[in-house]
Amino acid sequence: MDLRELIDVRNGRQKKRIFWDEELYRLELERVFARSWIFLAHESAIPKPGDFFTTYMGEDAVIVARTQGGEIKAFVNSCTHRGNQVCNAESGNTRSFTCSYHGWSFGLDGRLQGVPLEREAYHNQLDKSQLGMRPVAQVDSFAGFIFGCFDPEAPPLREYLGEMAWYMETFTERGGAELLGPPLKSILHCNWKIAAENFAGDSYHVGWTHAAALKVAGGELAAMIGNTALPEDIGVQIALPHGHGFTVFWNSATSLHRGDAYANFIRDRAPEVAARLGEMRSKFYRAHWSANIFPNCSFLYGTNIWKVWHPRGPHECEVWSWTLVEKDMPHTLKRNIQKEALRTFGIAGTFESDDAQNLAGCTETARGVIGDRGSIQGVMGIDREGPNRDLPGTINASPVSETSMRGFYKFYSELIQAPGWSELNGRAPSVANGARRE
C-alpha cells in the first residue's frame, strides 16, 4: 500500500480503503494514536487525591489518576508482571491499584509499591523502581481538559492545539468549562475517521440526514430541511494546523435547546467575553460550533455535547459522550443543558440517532474489491478557502463546505507518512495562517 496515494490533498480526494484497511489501521494506531494528543478526561472528573478515571488512547487502556500530592498522572493499565489489566473499574477513588492476578499493587502515580512474597519468592531481587505501570509520556491540560500523548517528541499540548486553543478560550476562559459525567458509552459500526470528519465540518448533512429532528424543532431549524437554501454570511468553516477543524453558525448557540435559560445566559455573558477576549470571540461565544480536535475528540459548542471516538478496529468505534458546561452556571441550568444535550446527541438522541446508518454505510462499501479501489471526494469549497484577516486558520466563508475535512486529511496524510514529529516540525505549517488576532 502506497501511503502517498491515500489522500490527494490538492484535489480533495481520499481512497475508500482508508475506512476499511486493516493494515492501515494498525499503522494509524502507531502513527496517529501513539503520536497525537488524545483526550483523557476533564479535571473536574478527578478533583480529589485518589480519584481515578479509566479510558483509552487508541486501543491502549490507560488510567488517569490524581495523586495524594494533587498531580494528575496517566499510565497504561497493564501490570508489569504478566500484563493483566490492573484497574477494572471505570472510575472511583482509591489509595492504590492492585492486580487481581498475583496481588502486585501500584500507587496513584503507577509506581510499583507492593509485591507479595517479595522476600520469599523474589529474594528481594526485584527492582521495583523499574516496574511501574508504563507512564504516558506527556500529560497536560488545557482549561482543565486533560490530554495524553505517548510520544515524547510531540510538541507540548498548547502548541499541538495551536489556534484551536485560542478559539476554545471563547468558552473556557471567562468562567471556566467542565464536563458532566460519567460519559454515555455506545458503539458505531464505522471507521473512527468518518465520525471525526463529520463533526469537524459536515454541515452539509444536517439539512438532509437530520430532517426529521429539524422538522420537529421547527422555526429557523426547519428552514434547513432538504438543503434547499443557503443564505450568505451565516457562519464560517475553519481548518487549523495539526488537523483540527470546526464549523460555526453565527447567533445559533442554543438553537437545539428548548427554553430560554441557556440563551439568556449566553446573552448576558457575551459582553464579558467581548471585554476579555474581543468582539470576534464574543461572536463565536454566541455561535453554534461543530468541532474536531485531531484525531478523535469532537464537540458541539452550544448543544454542548463532548465526544471521543475510541477506535475498535477499522470498522467500529466506541463513542463516549459528556455534557459541556461553564463552571459558574447555576445548578439548574447545568442540569437543563445536560438533559438537552443528551436528548439530542446521546445514544437515543433525536439528532444523533440519524447518523449511524450513514457512517456505517460509508465504511461497508469498501468491503468489496471494487469498492476498496475506489475514491471519495470532498471538494466542496476547495477554491474558496484561505487566510482571513480577522480569523486565524484557513477559512471558508461558507459553513457548508469541506475545508475542515480537507484540513483533517492533510494532516492525517502527513502524520502517517512521517517517520516522526521532528520530520513534521521541520515542515511549513500544513494550512496557511495569516490572520491578525485580537
Binding site: T94, L184, T323, T350
Partner: protein
C-alpha cells in the same frame, strides 16, 4: 413489603404489558402514548457507573440518563418518527419485545401499583443487523377505567457500553 395484587388484577396488568409490547412491535407509538401513558409520566433510563463495590468516591452530581423524559418529551420523540423523514427507518426496522418476570404489588398511595418486569428486545434492521437488549423495568401504574396508565418507568440496562448504535425505541 407491599401486598401482591390479586390474581385477577395480576392478569389484567400482565395483559396490559403484553398489549404494550405489541404496540411497540407494531410501532403504534402514538396509540401507546394516548392510551397507556399518564400525563405525569417520568420515563427514565439512567446511566450507571461501573465502580468497585467498596468505592468511596461520591456519586456524580449530575447523573446522566439515556432517557429522562416527561410526557412532552415522549410526544416529541414520537412526532419525529411521524414526520416520515427518519431515513434509518426506511425500510422499517423490525422489533419484538418479550416481557417476563412480572411482579405486581399495591403501592403506597391509593390505587397505585408497583410493577416489576424484565424485557428482551430484539431489533432487526436491513440485511443482517440484529441487536438484543435485555433489561428490567420498575413501573408505577394507576388505574384508568378498566385499564391502567403508566405514571413512572425506570429502565435498567446492564450494558455499560450500549452495544447498539442507537436506542431510539421504547422499552
Amino acid at each position: 413489603m407491599s401486598d401482591p395484587v390479586s390474581l385477577e388484577l395480576y392478569h389484567a396488568i400482565e395483559q396490559f404489558y403484553f398489549r404494550e409490547a405489541r404496540l411497540f412491535g407494531e410501532k403504534r407509538y402514538r396509540e401507546w402514548l394516548d392510551s397507556m401513558v399518564d400525563s405525569s409520566i417520568h420515563y427514565w433510563l439512567p446511566i450507571f457507573e461501573d465502580r468497585y463495590k467498596g468505592d468511596r468516591k461520591e456519586p456524580p452530581p449530575f447523573p446522566p440518563a439515556i432517557y429522562d423524559d416527561n410526557y412532552a418529551d415522549l410526544d416529541e420523540r414520537i412526532r419525529r418518527l411521524e414526520t416520515d423523514l427518519v431515513w434509518m427507518e426506511d425500510p422499517p426496522s423490525r422489533i419484538r419485545h418479550l416481557i417476563s418476570n412480572i411482579e405486581a404489588y399495591h403501592g403506597e398511595s391509593n390505587g397505585e401499583f408497583i410493577v416489576y418486569s424484565n424485557f428482551l428486545v430484539c431489533r432487526n434492521r436491513r440485511e443482517r443487523e440484529q441487536t438484543i437488549m435485555v433489561g428490567s423495568r420498575e413501573d408505577r401504574l394507576r388505574p384508568d377505567n378498566s385499564t391502567f396508565k403508566l405514571t413512572r418507568r425506570e429502565i435498567k440496562l446492564p450494558q455499560r457500553v450500549i452495544l447498539d448504535t442507537n436506542l431510539y425505541y421504547f422499552m
